[in-house]
Amino acid sequence: MLNKDARNLDYCLTKIQSGAMTLEQALTAYPKHAGRLRELLEFAQTLRHELVPADPKPGFIRDSRSRIEHAIHSKFQPTTHILRPSRRLTLRPTYLLFVLVLITAIFGSGYGVYSASAASLPGDFLYSIKRAGEEVQLILSYSDTGDLQLLLNLAQERLDEYQALLDAARYDDLERALAGFEREVERLGERSVEGEIPSATFDHLDDQLEKHIQKLELIRDQVPGSAILSIEKALDKTRHSQAVIETLQEGGRPSDLAPGQQDKQTGNSKDSSKQNEHDRSSGEDKSKGQDKEKQKDK
């Protein structure tokens, strides 16, 4: 009996879902069981109507596909070694000191310290150890292609740190993560030739920054007053990072873009509070627009 009811239900549901029949038409196939079936089928329709998620945003599938294809393409590209004049290695004195400390730590008793630093974030005690370890990796990298990949990885790591800080509500440390991110991106720009880094790579980094901006704007309305200033600074800095990426994509140099300057083309430094006001209202308009879109989708 259960199997028969289950089969009848499945048959009707399949016909309704495919659009081949309406509910009433499907029930005419089983007049004796129509009462029982109707209750369940109407309930199923209610569930679908109330709970079905909205379609993904139009650009998401397209952009995501691009990123995935790029990732595959990068994996299968033959490596090319670009001959350059000898590179000058520049290390900040602070990092050089920590590199020496790190080497001592690794070959002394402190390998555990280095391992423990891997998960540290800007503002943590072990964070400098982590950064020094990354510099060592860069020194030991033997090819320009390896350098570029490593710098890309480091840029991504800075963004991951940013995300972790955001999740932990450590708003005061966000700027540090962003400063680190911009430094990696600048080094990327210095060491690559035009067109060497696919535009999709920069787009991917930019997308992540955009998501962080949206998150910060959301959080800004929910945090106590003391945290708002940190969030505003982080927002400004994140937009600046986007401008740095845009500059690199256009073949410019990040040094062209002074800190706080977001519009390279006008060449005018903007008043950041006015910019914040503009961005805040456009952010609100955007979220209202998204609300309308969601209602329309559903």
Partner: protein, 187 residues
């Protein structure tokens, strides 16, 4: 999904090309299945951005595991589904699910009054609470078969069950959920 357009390349052909490094072929597979995987994840994860990230990760991980995939009776969507499920397990372990404002949006609300929206929101929340009380298998069958319209045969492959078992499970799950929702209304 594979058979909607008879002239479209088969999954097996695209997979073979993808294994040889044809990114565009894999992109076609992505285009074919991304929306359904996204919607499945979106049902399980309240944050839209997290759902997008997870969707992309599913496909990246699937690509890395493509060497293990053999199309002997198991369709590609079932493989994707398994990867998605495993990824969701990891996700829940690592992150506390954030409540998103999306959850407060009614399914249909274009011309409703505030009261009507509130009532609808309460009804939706009641259904979600009732769903969470069911055994995981019941929840899954309702998600896949009822909410996402996945055909019975496909659900059977995804859940490693026979079609008959899926039908019986669906029948039981719907009845159980309906009872649970009615019980809540009585309270």
């Amino acid at each position: 999904m594979d058979g909607t357009n008879p002239e479209a390349p088969r999954d097996a052909d695209l997979i073979a090309r993808a294994k040889r490094g044809d990114a565009h072929a894999y992109g076609n597979l992505y285009q074919r299945y991304a929306e359904s995987i996204y919607k499945y994840i979106r049902l399980r994860v309240s944050d839209e951005h997290a759902a997008q990230d997870l969707t992309e990760t599913v496909f990246l991980r699937t690509y890395e595991s493509l060497g293990r995939y053999r199309e002997r009776g198991l369709r590609f969507s079932a493989f994707l589904y398994q990867v998605a499920r495993n990824l969701l397990v990891d996700y829940y372990r690592q992150a506390e699910d954030l409540v998103s404002i999306d959850e407060t949006e009614p399914a249909v609300g274009g011309r409703m009054s505030m009261d009507e929206r509130f009532i609808q929101h309460e009804e939706v929340e009641a259904i979600k609470r009732a769903l969470k009380k069911l055994p995981e298998e019941y929840q899954e069958i309702i998600r896949l078969r009822v909410i996402l319209d996945v055909p019975t045969q496909e659900v059977a492959e995804w859940m490693s069950k026979s079609s008959g078992a899926v039908r019986v499970l669906l029948h039981r799950a719907l009845k159980a959920l309906r009872r649970e929702v009615e019980h809540h209304h009585v309270e």
